[in-house]
């Protein structure tokens, strides 16, 4: 199956992240605690990229909040940024939203998904009943109501990322991305929607590069193809990788405490977090040493 002349799509972290330019529209995986491409996000922050529009979610997590807190973001397109039971509104997002430092495209999860579908399908808009009679049109100039045959709809415009970063369990060298197991329920639609809507490269960090033969044997597990691939084990930490590791909730609490301190006028603790976990380590391997092998081991799921 794998012809000898077939081009491999494995890249280095540096190659992957230099594709992001100031002002780009960047799609990120990460539904709540699951599958955020954190190793790539930390490298984007180290490169001090600015004015990004982040498309993440449908409900985002720490990948988006960290980029906001590090000053890389101008606009977000998400239905919310939250850490579930750790804190219902992520701290950097809340602070930036209240100060007006970022613009927010106010949407819910369905509308977020439809906007990506509109881009993937090449449609100028999609009409949707959910969200009519709400404040969404008042808050988004490009999300207005229209009436068709006496029924009101929201006219959802396309959202098209310039580049997308994902974290997945497995990939092969040709850029086929797979989830941990075929039985996995939910939480993969967002990665697929982002990848299909993207006008530029899709880059995936993965826990493990697997032989193409394994991918060919189970085509039903491939959910995105044609991605650029970087092997970065534990690349979602502190988020979980579906089917491979659970989220590091202690780390989320540590981050949240630092973020809440900054929100309440004490920026030092957040800066200290960034120094310890982002700017201090030169690369992902160094970051994993700071986190510690025992901690990472305690988060690993038994592979089915």
């Amino acid at each position: 199956m794998s012809g000898e002349n077939r081009r491999e799509r494995v890249v280095s972290v540096t190659e992957a992240v230099t594709l992001v330019k100031d002002g780009a529209v960047v799609g990120l995986s990460g539904f709540s605690y699951q599958n955020p491409p954190m190793a790539l996000v930390r490298e984007i922050i180290r490169r001090r990229v600015r004015d990004l529009t982040i498309v993440s979610g449908p409900t985002s997590g720490i990948e988006t909040d960290l980029l906001i807190g590090a000053g890389c973001v101008r606009r977000v397109i998400t239905a919310g940024v939250a850490f579930e039971k750790v804190i219902p509104i992520a701290p950097a997002f809340r602070r930036a939203a209240e100060s007006g430092a970022i613009d927010i495209w106010e949407c819910d999860e369905c509308i977020w998904h439809l906007a990506l579908k509109a881009a993937a399908w090449g449609m100028p808009h999609i009409l949707w009943r959910g969200g009519v009679a709400t404040s969404l049109p008042e808050l988004n100039r490009d999300l207005q109501e229209v009436e068709v045959d006496g029924m009101r709809y929201l006219k959802v415009p396309p959202v098209q990322p310039d580049i997308v970063f994902l974290h997945v369990a497995e990939a092969d060298v040709f850029g086929n991305l797979r989830m941990a197991r075929e039985a996995y329920l939910g939480r993969s639609f967002a990665e697929r929607a982002l990848a299909l809507a993207c006008r530029g490269p899709v880059v995936a960090s993965c826990e493990r590069i697997v032989p193409n033969d394994e991918v060919v044997e189970h085509p039903e597990r491939t959910f995105v193809r044609g991605a650029l691939v970087v092997e970065l084990p534990n690349g979602s930490h502190p988020g979980g990788t579906s089917g491979r590791s659970i989220p590091d909730l202690d780390h989320y609490r540590e981050y949240t405490a630092a973020g809440e301190a900054a929100r309440k006028g004490e920026p030092g603790r957040y800066q200290a977090y960034l120094e310890r976990y982002v700017y201090g380590p030169d690369n992902h391997d160094d970051y994993l040493k700071v986190v510690g092998g025992a901690r990472l081991e305690s988060l690993r799921m038994s592979v089915a």
């Binding site: 709540s32 605690y33 699951q34 449908p58 409900t59 998400t78 239905a79 919310g80 940024v81 939250a82 579930e84 039971k85 750790v86 219902p88 509104i89 997002f93 809340r94 939203a97 209240e98 007006g100 927010i104 106010e106 949407c107 819910d108 999860e109 369905c110 509308i111 998904h113 439809l114 579908k117 949707w128 009943r129 959910g130 969200g131 009519v132 009679a133 709400t134 404040s135 969404l136 008042e138 808050l139 006496g150 029924m151 009101r152 329920l185 939910g186 993969s188 639609f189 967002a190 979980g240 579906s242 659970i246 989220p247 909730l249 799921m301």
Partner: protein, 265 residues
């Protein structure tokens, strides 16, 4: 004052009594109250009620009601119809038999007289957003398209219950009617009272036994009909209490943090 969990167990019963055998009940994160009510209804009078659930257990991570019990066989696989893909919502936005859901539980920073709910934020005196809310998450579309959303609040204060919400995340009765949407919120439950709706406005249905009608009126930012006396919320029956023991074996309802005193004003 009531014992820990009494209020949550009472509200689970109140909601369960509203659920029908033909209902599809959908859940987001932290919807333990509705999950408990739906499981109660299945046991008591609605065996065909369908639970639609978007989450799954990831080795005990705190990701929602699917992690409620350690006993996977009793709950997470046999009774719950998972949302395997978010597309399910997008694929059925109609009221067909394949519809996404009939009932969805909605909370928010503000709830107003017509049952509109605000998750976006609170405006300052200058009219700009001053306090950022969680955002619309999955609630806006699902609750707009569900015909019988149920509202809840973990406290009962004039800050929460306002004449008009600052932003609308989920429309109440008049807004829905103007947009041609069927139905509207059927119930609003709090640690002090149960409200329903008549002619598009919230009214008191019952007041819980541990508080008073005056207290409820004092803590609501708009007048509530009727003017006269209001019945006490019927406490859990014997069969309801027995069923709660089964659906909430670890007493998780007691951990929801509802404020039996109505909360700080």
């Amino acid at each position: 004052m009531s014992a820990p969990g009494d209020v949550e167990r009472l509200l689970a019963c109140v909601i369960a009594r509203e659920l029908r055998d033909t209902d599809i009940v959908a859940f987001g994160l932290h919807a333990e109250l509705l999950l408990a009510a739906a499981l109660l209804a299945q046991r008591l009078h609605a065996p065909n009620l369908v639970l639609r659930h978007g989450l799954r257990e990831e080795r005990g991570a705190e990701i929602g009601p699917a992690a409620w019990t350690d006993n996977a066989r009793s709950r997470t696989h046999e009774l719950i119809e998972y949302v395997e893909e978010h597309d399910v919502i997008l694929d059925v936005a109609s009221l067909s038999p394949m519809r996404f859901c009939d009932v969805f539980l909605v909370g928010g920073m503000q709830i107003d007289r017509e049952g509109s709910v605000n998750l976006i934020g609170i405006k300052g005196k200058d009219g700009r957003l001053a306090v950022r809310g969680p955002g619309s998450i999955g609630t806006t579309s699902i609750a707009t398209l569900a015909r019988r959303p149920i509202l809840f609040s973990p406290d009962h204060t004039p800050r929460r219950f306002v004449e008009r919400v600052d932003y609308v995340s989920v429309p109440g009765w008049k807004r829905r009617a103007a947009a041609g949407l069927e139905g509207g919120p059927i119930l609003c439950v709090t640690p002090l009272a149960v409200m329903d709706f008549a002619d598009g406005a919230m009214r008191l249905r019952s007041v819980h036994g541990h508080t008073t009608l005056d207290e409820v009126r004092r803590r609501t930012g708009f007048p509530l009909a009727p003017d006269g006396p209001v019945p006490v919320t019927p406490p859990p029956t014997k069969s309801e209490s027995d069923a709660i023991e089964i659906v909430d074996p670890f007493g998780r309802l007691a951990g929801l943090g509802f404020r039996a005193d109505g909360g700080d004003q």
